[in-house]
């Protein structure tokens, strides 16, 4: 344990890390102080914002209000940033269709350009986290061993040890992560959609987020032991032990006990 912590301390200079984290997440503080709106990281063109506003008025304003300040049926979007829009709209969760225990992913309603225009408009309402760059979410640049350690502590209790998903209370659930794109994984951590807590860059640094993405990208693919049986653990193993194992063996027993014709 001691060696481990020492190694982790050393591996990244904490100061550099902290600086980096502060730089990248200045925007999120806007949640605490929405009035001090700094400019979002990447400056979108004015026409993008205009088109985004039109899309917003047509598709989102019913719930989130014409100015994005929220209504009884939808939260305020001031300060949520382009990352939240990219995640919510890019996974099809928004526009929401029905009211269930939680809003689920479904086929995406907009193309990439429209999503970024919507994002530009929402980001213009109040600074928030921006969409991560390709580099920030590149699994090949992450350290999956560190990602696993972080995933185990911060994510596995809801999403299962390898991201197969799990139950929350009252019909809500933490979804399976294997089909989620690295960008959306990053944005989910950054913005904390629905039940999920926020993992701001002061909590999990951008590098740590990338490590987690590297770990997830290695899961749900090939299980060294054969069929992964859903990676659900002992319950599915027990079920298959009965169905396949006891099933085959009782079949064999019936064959042995039967008289030959």
């Amino acid at each position: 344990m001691k060696a481990l912590a020492a190694r982790r301390h050393d591996r990244r200079a904490p100061i550099v890390l902290l600086l980096l984290a502060l730089l990248l997440t200045g925007g999120l503080y806007a949640v605490l102080a929405p009035t001090s709106a700094d400019a979002a990281a990447a400056a979108p063109s004015a026409s993008d914002i205009q088109t985004g506003e039109k899309l917003f008025q047509a598709n989102c304003a019913t719930c989130h209000g014409p100015s994005g300040a929220g209504t009884a049926s939808g939260p305020s979007l001031i300060g949520v940033g382009a990352a939240a829009v990219n995640f919510q709209v890019g996974t099809g969760r928004m526009p929401a269709q029905q009211n269930g225990p939680q809003i689920e992913a479904k086929p995406v309603q907009f193309d990439d350009e429209q999503i970024s225009q919507l994002g530009a408009f929402v980001a213009s309402l109040g600074a928030g986290p921006a969409v991560p760059t390709e580099d920030q979410v590149d699994p090949s640049k992450g350290n999956s061993a560190n990602g696993m350690a972080l995933f185990r502590t911060n994510c596995a209790m809801c999403h299962n040890a390898v991201g197969a998903g799990g139950a929350l209370s009252r019909g809500k659930f933490a979804p399976k992560l294997w089909e989620t794109s690295p960008t959306h994984l990053y944005e989910a951590m950054l913005t904390g959609p629905q039940s999920m807590p926020v993992f701001s860059d002061t909590n999990l640094s951008p590098d740590e987020k990338r490590d987690i993405i590297a770990f997830i990208s290695e899961q749900g693919d090939v299980a060294p032991g054969g069929l992964d049986l859903g990676s659900l653990g002992a319950v599915s193993e027990g079920l298959w032990a009965w169905i396949v194992g006891i099933g085959l063996l009782i079949g064999a027993a019936v064959w042995i006990g039967a008289k030959s014709s």
């Binding site: 061993a145 139950a167 290695e218 069929l227 002992a234 032990a241 006891i246």
Partner: protein, 576 residues
């Protein structure tokens, strides 16, 4: 032993060896007694063999694993090939499990074979136990062997749990933590017992080595000894047999050990091992590298024990927390743990273990039984057994409630509430339904004996009356359905003797009688020869085929016409 009649050299050598052995061991008598011993043949008698052979498979693969596993909680840094573990601090137990899986060639196969075999071992014990229970094979003289088998079930659970925890991964570590929480809930000595087990505070440094000794020495030795005793009893008692023509309480019908049974049983070992190898080859089990080395902070969704401990998990999940209370002296009683983790399983397992003795007491039967019961002929026992199985099943489902929630898009809270109700209603309902089904099947047997098989052939009498021709059962078919006795509730001596003196022990007898009535009040008597004769004289049409030379066939396959009562069909649906 005379083995001199064959001239070939091989036979001579064999003869000489046999002679050598016999002169020193007297083994001839043993061989003479056992070589041609008869064992009855039935697939359900092989369930116990599945358990035995999967245990042998466990031993073989387990010895392989011990060659590479390091039972130590000493810290080490992983430097092996599995990328998501590289540089991670872990115990040597976990690190050697990874090495066993990725670097020892064939090691992963052996690990998976070992674990699958353990799951099959427990499943086979349970199915074997169900067979023994539902056929009444635990009756005199086999009650003690039932207890031996029951102890094996418990030992199997302990063996499984101790082995499951050895890799020192997060999943099993949380299982141990739950075990620790349950241990701490024991009144008075809870925290001391926890220290006893863990060598101090949880998780400590001692547990894995201790579990290893328990897992590879203590429990296997006990299991082996008890398996020996279990089989000794089987040889001593000779195997039970299903009812059937020619089979009596005084004989055993089947095939001799040499060669038939030896070949079948020996072959079956390889089949069992082969099927387990097939599972180990194709299905991943307990992929510990997914969980990571134990650390008290993380936990993963879907944290469940192996299936045979799932009932305990479910029981814990169902109990509402309000049960915990503090006594007047300021001591905490965790009834929210004691009830589901100790009292409920205690009741279920005690009922299982004690059932043969309870049944014997309320049946008042001191005879030996070697012919098995057909489950339908013992409605109370069958229904009782089903309700215990249902109770365990509901608890196991409750232990999987989070997976049920995600797979069927239900609320985990609603599921928990549903199971809280079901654990009371389910066993009761399944008892009532099973008993009804048993009685119904017995009535069907009666009807079949009295009236024979429906042939689907409808004939018309000269009078214009239609009846369906029934084909009577042959003697063998009939015997199966009439061989049993319907047990009646105990009759006891009156409370007072002729002089009006109240006798000792009446209260106990009365209680036994009351329970006996619960067991045997509802029953269906098997058909007697007199009833069959009477039925035949009522329903002459059963013999019609002989009398009516050219019956008018008007249809086939279904009961076209309901014959009316006057033609003597009152026996057809006997009201019992």
């Amino acid at each position: 032993m005379t083995t001199t009649s064959t001239p070939t050299p091989a036979a001579k050598a064999a003869g000489a060896t046999a002679d050598y052995l016999d002169q020193r061991t007297g083994i001839g008598v043993v061989v003479k007694t056992f070589a041609r011993k008869i064992f009855p043949d039935h697939w359900s008698f092989l369930l116990g063999e599945i358990a035995l052979y999967s245990f042998v498979t466990i031993l073989i693969s387990g010895v392989f694993l011990t060659m590479f596993f390091v039972p130590s909680m000493g810290e080490t840094t992983y430097t092996g090939p599995w990328s998501s573990m590289q540089g991670v601090e872990m115990s040597q137990a976990f690190s050697s499990t990874l090495r066993l899986s990725f670097e020892v060639r064939g090691g992963l196969l052996m690990r998976q074979v070992h674990h699958w075999a353990a799951l099959i071992f427990m499943a086979a014990i349970v199915t074997h136990m169900m067979r023994v229970f539902f056929t009444g094979a635990f009756r005199k003289p086999r009650e003690l062997n039932w207890v031996v088998g029951f102890t094996l079930l418990i030992l199997g659970m302990l063996a499984g749990f101790s082995g499951y925890s050895l890799p020192d991964d997060v999943l099993s570590g949380n299982g141990l933590r739950i075990a620790d929480g349950v241990i701490k809930a024991v009144p008075l000595i809870g925290s001391y017992t926890s220290y006893f087990v863990f060598g101090g505070e949880f998780p400590g440094q001692e547990l894995i080595p201790r579990l290893f000794t328990v897992h590879v020495l203590l429990i296997p030795a006990l299991i082996l000894a008890l398996i020996g005793l279990h089989l000794l009893f089987v040889v001593l008692h000779k195997h039970t047999q299903y009812p059937g023509s020619g089979r009596t309480e005084k004989n055993v019908v089947g095939y001799p050990v040499l060669p038939v049974y030896a070949a079948k049983a020996g072959g079956f070992f390889f089949v069992v091992f082969g099927v387990i190898a097939l599972m180990g080859a194709t299905m991943s089990i307990n992929a510990v590298w997914n969980y990571g080395p134990y650390d008290p902070s993380p936990v993963s969704a879907g944290a469940q024990p192996d299936w045979y401990m799932l009932f305990l998990e479910g029981s814990l999940r169902l109990m509402p927390g309000q049960a915990e209370f503090v006594t007047w002296g300021g001591y905490t009683v965790s009834a929210n743990i004691i009830i589901p983790a100790m009292i409920v399983p205690g009741i279920l397992f005690t009922m299982l273990a004690a059932y043969p003795f309870i049944e014997a007491a309320v049946t008042g039967d001191r005879r030996e039984h070697h012919i098995l019961d057909r489950p339908r002929n013992r409605p109370f026992r069958t229904a009782f057994g089903v309700s215990i199985v249902v109770a365990f099943f509901i608890l196991a489902l409750a232990g999987s409630n989070d997976l049920i929630a995600t797979h069927f898009h239900l609320s985990i809270n609603d599921i928990t509430w549903a199971f809280r109700v079901l654990i009371f209603v389910g066993p009761w309902l399944s008892f009532v339904i099973t008993k009804r089904i048993c009685l119904g099947l017995q009535r069907k047997d009666r009807e079949l004996v009295l009236h024979g098989h429906e042939t689907g052939r409808i004939v018309r009498f000269a009078s214009g009356e239609y009846i369906e021709v029934h084909k009577p059962l042959d003697a063998h078919e009939r015997w199966l359905r009439v061989q049993h006795e319907a047990i009646r509730p105990l009759e006891i001596e009156p409370a007072e003797d002729s002089r009006g003196v109240r006798r000792k022990g009446y209260a106990l007898d009365r209680m036994r009688q009351r329970v006996s009535q619960v067991f045997y009040e509802d029953r269906v008597e098997p058909v007697t020869p007199a009833e069959l004769t009477a039925s035949h004289s009522h329903g002459e049409h059963d013999a019609l085929e002989a009398d009516v030379h050219e019956p008018t066939q008007v249809g086939g396959g279904s009961h076209l016409v309901e014959p009316d009562a006057e033609t003597g069909v009152e026996g057809r649906n006997p009201q019992i």
